[in-house]
Structures are given as structure tokens and as C-alpha cells.
């Protein structure tokens, strides 16, 4: 067994986290910053943070992930990182020539209390910031929140630093996609396009973290939301934020600063949440839903009704982030699957209640933990086995030990491709999710069925 020391008996842990279902703020900030066009994320701390975040994002996306670091030494940790950051800013603009440097802090620089805006002003005063270039920042202490918080904070920073308004409203809607795949951001844009709604989507990692192989490497590829576009977000007629945890802060900032009204929705995973997204977009923009979207929706429901017997009553264990888990749980419940164990490493008030609401009619007890870890999830599974696991690659150890099929979903996915190219949001994304779920369930049936009931038609 790969996790041979995990006991079935569950004992309380107050101090020790084992096999976390989360990671730290800065990586989320780095991922979000990569969604700005021509932006180099910068990690203000010791080298390791940056190296770790780049490595993890690279393994997940199998794409170049560029970011710089202040390379703190012991000295810097004692006397502060100002010199390092100023020098970094000069070097970055000179050598890599991004339009934007997006600085995020670390537990190190937060503990010593570096004041980034002050340092940036210093750099500017010293002429280290070329005209028309920007240094933005966000505080992302690793000991507060999780990677989701970091994503939310950096996304809010885009508003804080760039959003403006001349009072005149533009015929466009801000879309904040949440901590999702580049493919998902692309799909969310496509849905809005199909509906004929002009949108500014930010952050936007599509075209950055799912780029083509062309034989030519570009430090800053075509993708990402431009500074120009971000500037206009203060003048948009509304904001639709997908995923309260990841997108809520930026949406509220736009409301507070520029009276841009916002709708904060769940991630559009599954037909119910996607319906709410599309309907909100429809009402907000005052347009009609084109038939092609109804067709996409109908195809998703066709899979649901055609294959219902394979979904019905299957128990599922889930690990992921709150925004994702809420939407996925609703989707699974809506097709009569039975989420049974649900864990996120991210503390989220309201999360458990929301899950309880959604699973109210699931005819068996549901375990929910926020925060919890995968060690606990594994123990729950040992006590109440499930038919399917859904979550990131680290679940594969549980999957193998307990011989349960795994549908890879969420972050990070280090051992399969596809997630960065094919969305799981929207109706099409729902179709992909159902295909993955069915493949997992039916492959298992094909493997385990006695010869006399090995099925040709399924």
C-alpha cells in the first residue's frame, strides 16, 4: 500500500496537517498574474518560493511559467528586502521587458514587514520603472488563507491598480472567471461571445498557459487581459463574478470604487450553475439566449437522461477548492449521484452549510470538512467506501490503495493532459465531465463484471 500508515480509526488532530488539500497564497497570486498580458509575476521573498510555484504550475500546465524573485538572503531577511526589490525591478524591465511586474509577497517578506508600495515608489523615484510600465502588488502572506486567497487578492489588485472610470458607462460586462483552467476561461468568453455580450474577462490565462507549440518561444505570448482592457473595467455596466471566494473581492471592489454593480455566482460547472450564469448574463445584458446555447444545454441533458442509470446512486468522494466543490456537488446531486465525502483545505465560512443545503436530499450522511486534509478524506473513505473519486492528482494514491476509479479534476493535475485544453465549465464542460465520469464507471464495470454479464451495449 502506498498510504500504508493511514488508519481507519479517526482521531482528532489539532496541530498536524497530513496530505493537505490546499497550498499557499503566493502560487494563486502568481497564477492570476500570468493572466495579465505581458506581465511578469514577481515573488518578493527567498528563491525557493518562486522556484516551487513555477515548478508546480509548470507540472500542471506543461507550459513555460516565468516569474522572478527577490532572492532574499539572510541579510535581506534582517535588513529588509527593499534593495533586492528595487534591483529586481530594474533588472526585469531591462532584461525581460514586460509591461507589468506583479509583485506578491511571501511569509518571509510579510513577517519582516516590507512595504511594497513604498519600495515601488522608491524604484519609480530612482527611475527604475520605464514610462508606460507598471509595478503592481498584493500582500499574500502564506500563513493566511490558501492559494485561492492569493488568486482572489491578485485579481482584486488588478482592479485596485488599473480600474478607472470617466463616469461614462461602457456597453460591456466584466467577467471574473475564478481560479479555473485557461480552457475554462476561454469557454466562459466563448459563451459570452455566442450571446453577443461584450466582456472584459480577467484574469485570463488562456493563450498563456495553454499555448501552441510553434517552434518559437515568446516570453510574453498573445494571451492575457491587457492593461488597457483592465482600465475600462471601472466603466463597465456590470460585473459577473464566478466563484465567490476567488472572484468576489475584485467584484466588490469594482462596486465600491466605481459603483459597477456585481452578481457573484457559483462557478458554471454543471447545467444548473451554467443556467444561472447564462441567465444572469442574459438579464444583465438584456439580450436573448441564442439557440446554439440551448442546443449545447440540450446535449448535456441528453447525456444525463441517456446514461442516468450509471449515475444514479453512485457515491463520490471529492477534494478541491470551495468554489469548485460547491458547483460540482450541485452538478453531481442534480444527476442523482451521491457526494459522500467532501474535503477542502481552504477555510470557508458558509461552505459547509451550502454543501448541506445542496445535499439535503442525498439519502445518506455526507461528510464535509473545511478545512480538512486528504488524510482525513482517506479515513472517511475507509469507513464509508465510495464508487468514485474526483479531485487532484494526489488522490491517485488513495485511488490505488482503495481500488477506486479517479476522475482528475481541479488543481494540481500533474499526471494527465487535457485539462488545460478542454473546459469543464459551461454545458460543453459538463459534457466532458460526464464523459470522464462515465468512462471511469464503465471501465470499472468492464473490468469487474463476471463474464456472463460483460456488456456489449452500455
Amino acid at each position: 500500500m502506498l498510504l500504508r500508515h493511514t488508519p481507519k480509526e479517526i482521531t482528532e488532530r489539532k496541530a498536524l496537517v497530513i496530505n493537505p488539500a490546499k497550498t499557499c497564497q503566493p502560487i494563486g497570486a502568481m497564477y492570476a498574474a500570468l493572466g495579465i498580458h505581458s506581465c511578469l509575476p514577481h515573488s518578493h521573498g527567498s528563491q525557493g518560493c518562486c522556484a516551487y510555484h513555477r515548478s508546480t504550475l509548470t507540472r500542471h500546465y506543461k507550459e513555460p511559467v516565468m516569474a522572478a524573485t527577490s532572492s532574499f538572503t539572510e541579510g535581506a531577511s534582517v535588513f529588509g528586502g527593499q534593495a533586492n526589490l528595487v534591483q529586481a525591478i530594474e533588472n526585469i524591465f531591462t532584461i525581460y521587458e514586460p509591461d507589468v511586474i506583479a509583485v506578491h509577497t511571501t511569509c518571509l517578506s510579510e513577517t519582516i514587514g516590507d512595504d511594497i508600495p513604498q519600495i515601488a515608489r522608491k524604484a519609480d523615484a530612482d527611475g527604475k520603472i520605464p514610462k508606460g510600465k507598471y509595478v503592481i502588488h498584493v500582500n499574500t502572506p502564506s500563513y493566511v488563507g490558501t492559494h485561492v486567497t492569493g488568486f482572489a487578492n491578485m485579481t482584486k489588485a488588478m482592479v485596485d491598480y488599473f480600474a478607472q472610470t470617466n463616469g461614462k458607462r461602457l456597453d460591456q460586462i466584466n467577467l471574473i472567471p475564478g481560479y479555473v483552467e485557461p480552457s475554462d476561461m476561454e469557454e466562459i468568453k466563448r459563451i459570452a461571445d455566442v450571446m453577443g455580450v461584450r466582456t472584459v474577462l480577467f484574469p485570463d490565462t488562456s493563450g498563456v498557459l495553454n499555448r501552441p507549440q510553434t517552434g518559437k518561444y515568446e516570453m510574453f505570448p498573445k494571451g492575457g487581459v491587457t492593461v488597457e482592457a483592465l482600465r475600462t473595467t471601472g466603466s463597465s455596466m456590470a460585473t459577473i463574478a464566478l466563484g465567490p471566494m476567488a472572484s468576489g473581492a475584485a467584484a466588490r471592489a469594482l462596486d465600491n470604487k466605481f459603483d459597477v454593480p456585481c452578481e457573484i455566482l457559483d462557478l458554471p460547472i454543471g447545467f444548473k450553475a451554467t443556467d444561472r450564469f447564462v441567465d444572469t448574463l442574459r438579464k444583465t445584458a438584456g439580450i436573448n439566449v441564442p439557440d446554439s446555447l440551448n442546443v449545447e444545454r440540450g446535449k448535456l441533458l441528453d447525456i444525463v437522461t441517456d446514461m442516468h442509470q450509471y449515475f444514479y446512486g453512485r457515491k463520490v468522494a471529492l477534494a478541491g477548492d470551495p468554489d469548485h466543490l460547491i458547483a460540482l456537488t450541485e452538478f453531481l446531486v442534480s444527476i442523482d449521484m451521491w457526494p459522500t465525502h467532501i474535503v477542502t483545505g481552504t477555510l470557508s465560512k458558509g461552505f459547509e452549510n451550502r454543501i448541506r443545503e445542496i445535499t439535503e436530499h442525498v439519502p445518506h450522511p455526507v461528510n464535509v470538512a473545511s478545512p480538512g486534509d486528504m488524510f482525513l478524506l482517506h479515513q472517511w473513505i475507509k469507513n464509508e467506501p465510495v464508487d468514485l473519486l474526483m479531485g487532484n492528482t494526489y488522490l491517485k494514491y488513495i485511488a490505488r490503495d482503495e481500488d477506486i476509479p479517479l476522475v482528475r479534476w481541479g488543481f494540481p493535475i500533474l499526471d494527465r493532459i487535457g485539462h488545460s485544453y478542454f473546459p469543464t465549465v459551461g454545458y460543453r464542460g459538463g459534457m466532458r465531465l460526464l464523459e470522464k465520469i462515465l468512462d471511469a464507471i464503465l471501465d470499472r464495470q468492464d473490468r469487474d463484471s463476471p463474464e456472463e454479464s460483460f456488456e456489449l451495449v452500455m
Binding site: 498510504l3 514577481h42 528563491q47 507540472r59 533588472n91 532584461i95 513577517t111 507549440q213 510553434t214 518561444y217
Partner: protein, 550 residues
Amino acid sequence: MELSKHIDTPEAEEIDPREVKQQLLEKVPTKVARKRAKQIIVNDVREDLDVPQIGANARTIPGIITQRGCTYAGCKGVILGPTRDIVNITHGPIGCGFYSWLTRRNQTRPPGPEDANFMTYCFSTDMQEEHIVFGGEKKLRAAVQEAYDLFKPKAISIFSTCPVGLIGDDVHSVARDMKEQLGINVFAFSCEGYKGVSQSAGHHIANNGIFTHVVGLNENGKEGKFKINLLGEYNIGGDAFEIDRVLEACGITVVSTFSGNSSYDAFASAHTADLNTIMCHRSINYVAEMMEAKFGIPWIKINFIGAEASAKTLRKIANYFEDDELKQKVEEVIAREMPEVIKVRDEVRKRCEGKVAMLFVGGSRAHHYQELFREIGMQTVSAGYEFAHRDDYEGRKVLPTIKVDADSRNIEELEVHPDPERYRARKTPEQIAGLTEKGFRFKDYDGMMPDMAMNTLVVDDISQYESDRLIDIYKPAIFCAGIKEKFAVQKKGIPMKQLHSYDSGGPYAGFKGAVNFYREIDRMVNSQVWKYLKAPWQENPELAAKYACD
């Protein structure tokens, strides 16, 4: 092998490395250029293998995109990562523990299904703001207690992350107390990420810790006629398994491996070996020094990367033990292993001869893997280490001349004295003299540069910008580095081989490993897929519309 020591691909020859160096420096700010100039050296091997001095183990310049990681990574990730029966608890916010969880492909094989293996687990105190403000010792104690209650391990170790040092948690006293309280070995590492200038400092801290807290605790080490320790081998992709296979076939006993496929008890009995053999000079040579000082165990540099090198290494070990039977056994093993190696090597060499490679990785692999490339006729035009020191480039003879800077000074150097009971010189001064006479070399490492061709370009702590430029200039057939570099290189249409994790491959050590590597490189540099990156209409965009539209 001599022959292939200078580059004979015209393209590469036409390139003037001095000019290249200028190109690498011209764009960067003067201050940076001045510093980098010391770390970018055109190789020039004089007699006595003298080479130009290179700047190494120096700070990375802020804002320069570097390959380097931190001290925590070197300590918890590299050295202690492969230890399966120690519960390694990261004391800090969740990230550091998460990122160092199972990502290095160190393989481990517990003796049985019941035996301890914690490598698949990630343990962290998951520090929150209140612990930063009020201190984390209490939580750390509780975490150690919970780990003990759940797993009853032989040993528990604690790793400090950046904030821990700053807020002044005394992890060592926590370790001492818990050791007493639990009656198992508990020890801590002050491996905050900001220490030193790279992972290297972390290796040092880790090895010092193992030496201090574990080595010497177990007198019942493996028995055998020829007992060695294998130092600086981390069993990535199963390298150590292949090395063990070969050594066992020779009748040589590996008492302990630092730290691939390692066990706590083996560490503890390391002092019972009669020879220390060093794979990765950078990460561990000082441990060998300390073991010699304390227990009288001589050490030699070895290398199992490359079939020829493996053969050389086996002979060297046999010579050390001065045992004819062993020498004969070694020759038998080499004779048994080489035919398959030669068969594949020659077949692959046909397709790889003359192609050009670049290696920028680690503290020894950038050197060792040149050997493997050479065996299939491939030239290394440029190479460098990520975190090595001058001696790894220029050879140990420069050790006395290396000045210790502020960053290194903070990394504790242990003072070691002969162990009153257990010191036992494995060789008398006479024996040592005799061996040396015969050309046998102890503590020998000449470094990478003397082993490289003239006019090759040696770059320490290479930056993303520099490697990008180098590839444009040299257009190598293959580029070797780490995961962060992989896809930027491949986007340029150049196959990229990871030499930290081996991508999904390995083992590459020993004889079978060499065969694996030949095949892998053959696959990569000769694959057709790189030819298809441009679409037909990008190759010939002319528009000969067959039929006019109205």
C-alpha cells in the same frame, strides 16, 4: 574517449565563445554584467588541468530568473526527502510542505509491506497568522506528539521554513524535549529558505544534522567483506537500485546510501563501513571528510553515470580493497555487462554522432552526464551548475583559495574529532602511501572544467535569459536542465531532458542505466515530431488558388 574531447561539429566550431559571452552580457545592466562576467567562462584547460577561475556559489541577482531553489528545498527536499522511515515535519505555512511532497521521483523500496514508508505523506504544522504573532513552538510540539501517536515512527525530524527563524521558534529545544518525552530520536533543521545562496546550503545543513543526530547510533550495520557507503546518490528514477545491483554482483556491501532508498538504521550504522564513495561531490563531500576525521574511513570520488565511468569506479573500489578475488569479480561483472551496453551504444551512436548538447543542472550531473553523451558521440558545447562551488568546476585543488563569504559563513561547519572508542583508521599511512604510489587517488575530484573541451562555455547559475540566447546561438540537439526550463526550451523546437527528475525515465546510472539513457536520447534527438512544427502554408505560403471565385 580522448578524441571526442574537442568539438568537431563545424557549426559549433565557427562560433566564438568570447563573442557569445559578450552577447549574453550586452543587454543586462552594468552591475549585473560585471557580476555575471565572473560566472561565464570560456573553458581553457592548461597543463595540470589548470582552468580559469569561475565565480560560483554566489548570490543570485534579484530579478534574474534563476533555476535555483532554497535551503529548505536542499535540506528537506533533496537530502531528507528520500528517507522513508523518518516522519519529516515541515514547520511553517502549508506551501513548503506541499511543494516538496513527492515531486522528486526518489524511489524507495521498503523491505516488506509492513515496513515504514512515509514518503507518500506530507506533514506540516500549517502555521497560521496567530503562530507568526505568538510563536509556533506550542503547535510544533503538539504536531510531533500527534505524529508519534498516529505512526510510532523510529524518528521524527523538523524543518524550519522562513518565518520560523524570524519569529525565533526554537525548534531544536522542541526536538530535544520531544526526544526525551517520546523516547524516539527527534531532531530539527534550521533550514530557513533565506539561508545561503541556493539549495547547497540546505544539503550542508541536512548532512550535518544526519551526521550529528544519527550516524554512529547503530553498531549492527550490514556485514560483508567489502563494506562501503554510497554518498550523494538519491535514487532518482531508481539509479541506486541499479548501482546496488552492480555492487552486489561484485560482492561489495553497501552499508548505507546517503540518501536514496535509505533507512534510518542504515544511516545510523554508516560509521561501520570501510570506505566512503562519493557520487555527488557537491552535496556531500564534507560528510565524507567528517566521517574520516571521526571514524577513520577514507573516501574516494566515484561516478556510476556512464558505462565506462561505472567500470572505472568498480575497478577503483576493488583497488582500494587490494583484494585479487574482488578485482577478478569486478572484471567478470564488467565483462558480463558491457556487451549489451556496447551493442546499444554503437547502434545509437550512429544516429547521434556529432550532435550537440547543453547541460545546466545540479551540482554534479552537469559534469557526469557529459560522459554519457560522449559515449554516443555527442558534444557538450556549454554546461554549468545550478548550485555548485568552485571546487566542483575547477577541482578540489582550489579549495584552499576559496574565500568564505557572508552567506556561506552562516552555514555551520562542524568541528569533528576522532571518536575515542570508535575511530579506526581503515588504512595505515603506509598502505595509503603505497596505493597513492600506484596512482590510486583519495579525495580526488578534478571538477567539471578540466574534463570539458577547449573553448566550451561554462556558465554558473545560468539565467533564463542566458539559456534562451545560448539556444538561439548554438541550436543544440538537446538541452538538459530542470522542470522550470523544460517547456520554454521545447517551445523553441529543441528537445529538453530533465536531469533532476529524469522526466519519466531512468535509471541512468550503471550499465543498464547507460543503455536506458542512450535509448532515451536517441528517441529525443532523432524523433520526427520536431519536423512538423510548421504547417505547410507556413513553409510555402504562396497562394496558387486553383479556381477563381466569382
